[in-house]
Symmetry: C2
Subunit: 106 residues, 2 copies
DNA sequence: ATGAGTAATCAACATCCGTTGATCCGTAGA
DNA sequence: TCTACGGATCAACGGATGTTGATTACTCAT
């Protein structure tokens, strides 16, 4: 089914985007609102190039948004992405209330 | 804070475990209950070695459990791991209701 | 005890990912 | 227009990750 495949792929990219310490730290920082790159660079004590790389991964996954303004770019959490994440996680929950083992081998 | 660091690390390993198509497919299969490896090998049409590798990743992350029985090993979803995942995902939600931008650069 | 079947582990290889430093692009101020 | 600055992008490198085939360990049946 195509929608299932699509769901799996977005799942993979969402989970991959979050499978890195620095990226989780970025998400953490953005929880209280928008931040510009220079702000994050200082807060996370890292190089500009590295930060830019991770921001791109998060943005491509749809978890954050960027808002260029003049010389600066502000990043913020993306509600839609987080909702999608929630939904994918929900879909991992057990569907049948594990009524004993459902496959017998011998 | 130590607990925050620990939370980040478990987050990373949970997300990493789920950032792979085959591993998501395994989770999908286990939603309806226990399955033995031979069962999954056939369902996912893959080699035994490959499957075993991915099962180990999921198990190490605490997302599934194994139950050896005789010649076979049965795998199942691990509720605790899924709850931990939920909790980590919850912790990514915006904390303050984004009252405008919280950092100004110039 | 031997042989067959299940599954974990290993070594080797290929690929992907993250880091770093350099470069490029766009904007703001002189 | 020239310069300085913020930030994206690129190439190159090194380390991690996934794949494959072979080996090993264990269990069951004969």
């Amino acid at each position: 089914m195509t929608t299932t495949i699509k769901r799996r792929d977005t799942g993979v990219s969402l989970f991959h985007a979050l499978s890195d310490v620095m990226r989780l730290e970025i998400m953490e920082r953005l929880k209280d609102g928008e931040h510009c790159v220079c702000d994050l660079t200082e807060a996370l004590k890292t190089g500009q190039s590295r930060l830019s790389f991770h921001l791109k991964v998060l943005k491509d996954a749809g978890l954050i948004t960027d808002r260029p303004e003049g010389r600066w770019t502000y990043y913020a959490l993306n509600r839609e992405g987080l909702e999608e994440l929630e939904s994918v996680v929900q879909s991992l929950q057990v569907s049948r209330p594990r009524a004993g083992s459902s496959s017998r081998c011998p």
